[in-house]
Subunit: 340 residues, 2 copies
DNA sequence: TTGAAAGCGATACCAC
DNA sequence: GTGGTATCGCTTTCAA
């Protein structure tokens, strides 16, 4: 597949100059007369010259490409982040490899190995990566967006929301609307890091602080064996079938919230008054639902922007302003907490 | 940023052999004694050797990476295709650049230029690309998945569904359930190629064939200025407000269908009996809805598989079995056509 | 079985 | 202002 395209050498020949001069003109470096510039540029255009990045990368030890790792691009929240990050990186002159790890350590490992070999300049990890993988990335800069915990690498930045505070605020919102027995429902979290989601901490401290029941039976956590929508519905059904009751639900994710809302509706519960529900991520799911679901806006644009800026700073070898950047979140109330 | 990592030369030094031998061992080519193999492999491992793909690519004129272009990864249907294609390519040893063109010709052009420069081995275009862009890709093999029309390139394959037949089958399904006045609603199609969607043709011929009304007022087509969900709802509202009536809706996309269903529900219409609705793509939207929306399963797995296989064949320089591969579709009936 | 050396395409240093 | 040339890391003949 010897796809021999026109090289800098060909242009040098045609223009009757040296490759050094052609390189200078093409990169607008060094010095050359207007005449040679015009000549070289014209010939380059005529010949449809396209720089060979493999050669350039080899020489400059920089490929101008980065890897974006995420457990699941089909997840609405992650895909939005990926999209925005990719756009910003592109604007900065970087091409992105986008990689679906499926939360699988082995796959991740293979990816990282390949990407390091392909000489990416840095990594953007979205939504969590297992601890082993990035260690392979040697000295490459890494930015984590929406991942709990740091990995102790050298050139690393963490960008995310304050999850305990988010759990607190979600719970507080329900209390403000009169809820007294509040359930916590989560589904996928354990897939990526194991253990309880960080929001649970805020949920508990809020309840404790306000002297409300913090019943273990109301903490519903399911594995991600099926769409979180379905799983969430089953968790709610099981809980109610077991005779427990609640008047508020903190759902860690809009898909989860939608599953909860659907399950409650199916039982004839008046969602928004008898039981209030708040989701998380402000995704399409919360808006598609009837009643519309209250949620937490996490400002994906800001998460992506901060993350990419931090990575670019690291790539420039500059100082990173902070090792840990917290982006504020915002409660968005809709029908499922406001009622009607 | 002179990230000098261990090279084949370093290993040759340490092992007391030549770079040629190291290369042979590492690629399991040529011949060498077991002893040297073990030695080289051991040292490579110890030193954490990772091949420099930039160098390899330069030498071999193949980067083992391809570009996947799509107008919108946050679109459920496209993102599934992207995901599957990426996985298959990865399994075949290729890394994928994933690019969001946003249906914008200029962006696409910039992407393609960059990717050609980055020496991708081929292109997978999902969901349509503007005619200009791929011409830049010179001689590179191109596979189109779910894109109407071919682009007349040399090494090109088209994989998709039979859209007119799909429109026909959707319409036929509604007729079989007793619908006589059937509307056609579409939103985003014109964004990517302009003109009427291909399904409309099948819709019309089905109606004509069965001697049913083919009222221009029932063909609702909206631009993609806002979420198709909302847009679709407005189209339906406007149509009904204008005094037109229908008892069936062919919606070109599940998001569109969901918008239609919600709009009808809001007006107190009994969806599934008074008006039947069928969507397209078998995405999460059709399942999330109450009532569940009938739809068309397009077999994304098969689309991706056929596409990737065709590309791999082209990359191998082999003959492509066909220039135009049609993947069958399948009607999936749910509550919005079955009633109940 | 092993090695010396050419060369892929581009950059940059240092002469001229 | 311009050009010769070493160099990046790897593969691949061709000889030994």
């Amino acid at each position: 597949m010897a796809r021999r395209s026109v090289s800098i050498y060909d242009i040098a020949q045609l223009a009757g100059v040296s490759t050094a001069t052609v390189s200078n003109v093409l990169n607008n470096k060094g010095s050359f007369s207007d005449k040679t510039r015009d000549l070289v540029l014209r010939i380059a255009r005529e010949q449809g010259y396209v720089a060979n990045f493999a050669a350039k990368s080899l020489r400059e030890a920089s490929t101008k490409s980065v890897a974006i790792l995420t457990p699941d691009v089909s997840n609405d929240f992650f895909s939005t982040l990926v999209l925005k990050a990719e756009g910003l990186l592109r604007a900065a002159g970087y091409t992105s490899y986008i990689c679906n790890t499926a939360g699988d350590a082995e796959r991740e490992d293979a990816y990282v190995r390949d990407l390091v070999s392909k000489q990416v300049d840095g990594f953007v990890c979205i939504g969590g990566v297992t601890p082993e993988a990035p260690t392979l990335a040697a000295d490459l800069p890494v930015v984590h967006i929406d991942h709990r915990g740091s990995l102790g690498m050298r050139r690393e930045v963490w960008v995310g929301n304050d999850m305990p505070a988010m759990g607190y605020d979600m719970t507080r919102t329900l209390v403000a609307r009169g809820c007294a027995r509040i359930a916590l429902v989560s589904v996928s979290a354990s897939l990526y890091h194991g253990g309880e989601p960080d929001q649970a901490q805020g949920y508990r401290s809020c309840l404790r602080e306000l002297g409300l029941a913090c019943d273990p039976e109301l903490v519903l956590e399911g594995p991600h064996r099926q769409p979180s929508l379905v799983e969430a519905g089953e968790l709610v059904d099981a809980c109610l079938d077991a005779g427990h009751t609640f008047d508020g639900v903190v759902a860690l994710g809009d898909r989860v919230a939608l599953g909860v809302v659907n399950a409650l509706k199916a039982r004839g519960v008046d969602v928004g008054s008898a039981v209030r529900v708040i989701g998380m991520d402000d995704s399409i799911y919360s808006r598609v639902s009837t009643p519309a679901i209250s949620t937490v806006r996490r400002h994906t644009g800001e998460l992506a922007r901060q993350g990419v800026e931090a990575l670019l700073a690291l790539l420039d070898g500059g100082q990173t302003p902070s090792q840990r950047i917290v982006v504020p979140h915002e409660i968005v109330e809709r029908a499922t907490t406001l009622g009607e």
